[in-house]
């Protein structure tokens, strides 16, 4: 034998999906949703997604280099953050604001904690929460989908010069000659005027809303593919949906005129995108099997509580961020029962 043999300790075999493979799988699953966002909202959505992703990657690269962790872009996790952030913003969101949100999300939400695996909360949602606080008007300005000429020119507000207030879009929308567009999302219509948009339109995404959250059907298909590939824990999205229905159902039964149907609750707003792609983020969710379900239920229930009783129309973002913070606690109380032990002896 000419070459030295190596000495290792067992196990000598290793065949697992690597972290980059997992993250790339999620990126693939997000691409159809991105494509639909671009199809629905045109050039603006494309620019938005490119901006958030590019800024997120740049921020990750910068901070990883500064902290001596080398190039961490190759684990693909920051691409997910960038895409998800873009998908949760209104399609006409000014690009400079999106860039700020992406920077804050990755810098404060991820890099400062030490990068992948150490962040407490979902970085995309940290960025969005910052945008919600900093740009309250822009982030609640909605534009209709399928506008004519959407592939030729962006929504006017998209190209707002940096540090300027967004260009008003009222006149632009008026010029589109779309009947009945009120500039409100289905959630706002339901909450303040108790008008429910058709369930089918909601399900397929023929409504106004954030760039990538409109089509519950598409998100679910992509999410199911991820679950089938075992790239996400199915217990989390199932928990979110179950939690939402459990809270929404009694109220709807009590007063269907004021409270939304459970079906509406599931398909409106960012619930689907949040359930399948943000709540299920591995880093921020409990690793224990029962913990995943508890965490999902908590998010679903909290989302509906915020929607029904809070000042905001949408609650999934804060629900996930809160659940992220609670995840270590949920993990701690849902440790698996170890083989051969009867009851938890931990106190």
């Amino acid at each position: 034998m000419s070459r030295p043999i190596e000495i290792r300790t067992s196990p000598h075999l290793k065949r697992a999906r690597t972290v980059p493979q997992i993250m790339l799988g999620v990126v693939w699953a997000l691409l159809p949703i991105c494509a639909f966002a671009v199809f629905q909202f045109g050039l603006s959505a494309l620019l938005l997604l490119v901006t958030t992703t590019a800024v997120a990657m740049g921020t990750e690269y910068l901070f990883a280099r500064l902290s001596g962790r080398g190039n961490t872009l190759n684990d693909w996790s920051v691409v997910i953050t960038g895409l998800l952030l873009g998908l949760t913003l209104p399609p006409g969101f000014p690009l400079w604001m999106a860039a700020v949100a992406a920077f804050v999300g990755v810098a404060l939400g991820k890099s400062l904690f030490g990068g992948l695996g150490f962040n407490v909360m979902n970085a995309a949602l940290v960025g969005r929460a910052f945008a919600q606080a900093a740009f309250p008007v822009a982030i609640t300005t909605w534009t209709p989908g399928f506008a004519p000429g959407r592939f030729q020119e962006p929504i006017p507000s998209t190209l707002t010069p940096p540090l300027m207030q967004p260009i008003p879009v009222k006149d632009w929308i008026g010029g589109l000659n779309i009947d009945g567009f009120t500039g409100a999302t289905p959630l706002a219509l339901q909450k303040f005027q108790h008008i429910e948009v058709s369930g089918l339109d909601l399900f397929t995404g023929m409504v106004a809303g954030s760039a990538g959250e409109t089509s519950a059907l598409l998100i679910m298909v992509c999410g199911l593919w991820l679950a089938y590939q075992r790239l996400l824990d199915w217990k989390i999205p199932v928990g979110v949906m179950l939690g939402a229905v459990l809270i929404a159902l009694p109220f709807w039964l009590l007063d269907g005129g004021v409270y939304p149907t459970p079906w509406f609750v599931l398909c409106s707003g960012g619930l689907m995108l949040g359930a399948w792609f943000m709540a299920s983020d591995m880093v921020g969710s409990p690793e224990t099997p029962w913990g995943a379900l508890v965490y999902g239920l908590f998010i679903g229930a909290l989302t509906v509580v915020i929607r029904l009783f809070g000042g905001l129309t949408e609650g999934i973002m804060y629900a996930i961020l809160l659940a992220n913070a609670a995840a270590p606690l949920i993990s701690a109380v849902t440790q698996p029962r170890v083989f051969g032990t009867r009851k938890e002896r931990r106190s």
């Binding site: 070459r3 067992s10 196990p11 075999l13 290793k14 065949r15 591995m282 969710s285 051969g340």
Partner: protein
């Protein structure tokens, strides 16, 4: 896993992994006898417990089968000469475990025959349980599945316990290994004879043979060879690693969990490997000792993979010269690749515990040394751990050197180092290796409390 178990009819346990089996290389290779090496190296500690005490002097002539070292107390077994020859030295020798250990060096006579002349025929039916246990110890039998625990010790249950069930372990869940498979095919009657001995010695009322369902031929062969008067059943269990761990097999067969920190004897069960029972069934009626064992030699780095009947003490180099080894060999593993030990020297001898020699190539994708990334809490390790630990949290504690908390809060001592967590970790965190070190450090602290 998970939901799918509801639809399965095969007996199994929760969690575990499905590594690529690689058994096709050797599963159809009949057991063949390996010749004698010029010199055999026989460590005195080839079993758990106290090392054997040499009975021979340097320069002494011995014949094949003759005892050359005696058991030192109950938790020890004797050693027999695997060939005719002369004792060259009693000195330190390389072992697979690392540190050198006392061993008897036997220079083999060229004319040494395969026949065992040291023979003492006896009628087992006339022996009492106590005499049978003594005979098993005298044969130098240990668990041949890899644990090397003295076989006779398990026949005597702890005070206050009785043994009701003999579990025969024919799972062979480690990738590459097929030696137990071949023994089940070629020596089923010897296994049955061994079962008869253990049932009599332990006064257990039944025996259950558990075999993974990837060996339908072995299952069929065993079923057709059950003697009419022997209370034996043969059960197929799911092919899943680590099905062959005794606690897992008991769970699969009966649904019972061996209590944490306890033994199968706590449930009235004794577990024996099929290879051990086959040897017992053959050796005891003749009053002979364990001097050879079946070893699977396999892996991408081996030219002529197969199952070999190897004299105990054969240096690895002699065995690998016989089977041929690739220039690209990167790692030589004694035992299976999930729990075995890689050796630093080819002078290491085949001992009673060595069920296989697996040679992996340096470029083997399974060996790939990948970058270690932070834990992303994906939970794959929790779904793999057969004893349902939380390797993710344990790994993070290990990185912070909180070894004490690993044991006190997260049941580190329940880990039997099967390697499933490290196998599935997408971040390539060497979890099993961490746990092995943590346990060693905890043992050290217990020995010297500060």
């Amino acid at each position: 896993m998970g939901i799918m178990n509801f639809f399965r009819s095969t007996k199994t346990f929760a969690h575990g992994i499905h590594p690529v089996e690689h058994k096709e290389q050797t599963a159809d290779k009949p057991i063949r006898r390996l010749g004698f090496a010029p010199e055999l190296v026989l460590p005195l500690a080839q079993h758990r417990g106290k090392p054997a005490r040499p009975l021979v002097k340097i320069g002494q002539e011995v014949v094949r089968g003759e005892p050359i070292a005696e058991a030192d107390g109950f938790l020890s077994v004797p050693l027999h000469a695997p060939a005719d020859g002369v004792i060259r030295a009693i000195d330190l020798a390389s072992t697979a475990e690392g540190p050198k250990a006392q061993a008897i060096f036997l220079k083999v006579h060229r004319a040494s025959t395969q026949e065992v002349l040291y023979d003492l025929h006896r009628d087992l039916d006339t022996l009492s349980a106590e005499e049978l246990i003594a005979a098993v110890q005298a044969a130098g039998l240990v668990g041949l599945g890899g644990a090397a625990f003295p076989s006779h010790v398990k026949m005597k249950p702890p005070a206050g316990r009785t043994l009701e069930t003999l579990v025969v372990n024919g799972c062979e869940c480690e990738p590459y290994l097929t030696c137990d498979h071949r023994v089940m095919l070629e020596r089923p009657d010897s296994i049955m004879a061994g079962i008869r001995i253990v049932l009599k010695a332990t006064k257990a009322s039944r025996a259950v043979i558990g075999v993974e369902d990837n060996k339908p031929d072995a299952l069929a062969r065993l079923r057709e060879r059950i003697p009419a008067d022997l209370p034996v059943t043969v059960e197929a269990v799911e092919t899943k690693y680590p099905q062959g761990a005794e606690k897992m097999l008991i769970k699969s067969l009966f649904g019972w969990e061996v209590p944490a920190g306890g033994l199968p004897a706590d449930l009235g069960i004794a577990v024996y490997n099929v290879g051990t029972l086959a040897q017992m069934g053959e050796l005891l009626p003749r009053g002979q000792g364990l001097i050879e064992r079946v070893v699977t030699v396999s892996g991408p780095g081996i030219f002529r993979p197969g199952n070999y009947l190897v004299p105990i003490g054969t240096p690895l180099r002699f065995l690998l010269e016989h089977t041929g080894m690739s220039e690209q060999a990167g790692e030589v593993i004694l035992g299976g690749p999930m729990m075995g030990m890689s050796v630093a020297s080819l002078e290491v001898p085949i001992t009673k515990a060595v069920s296989g020699v697996v040679v992996l190539e340096a470029q083997d994708p399974d060996l790939a040394q990948r970058q270690v990334l932070p834990c992303i809490k994906c939970g794959a390790c929790l779904e793999a751990c057969p004893v349902k630990l939380n390797p993710s949290t344990l790994g993070q504690l290990a990185q912070h050197r909180e070894y004490g908390r690993m044991a006190s809060d997260y049941y580190l001592d329940q880990c039997f180092e099967c390697g499933s967590c490290a196998y599935v970790c997408p971040s390539n965190i060497p979890l099993t290796q961490y746990f092995r070190i943590a346990k060693a450090i905890n043992r050290e602290h217990q020995r010297k409390p500060n």
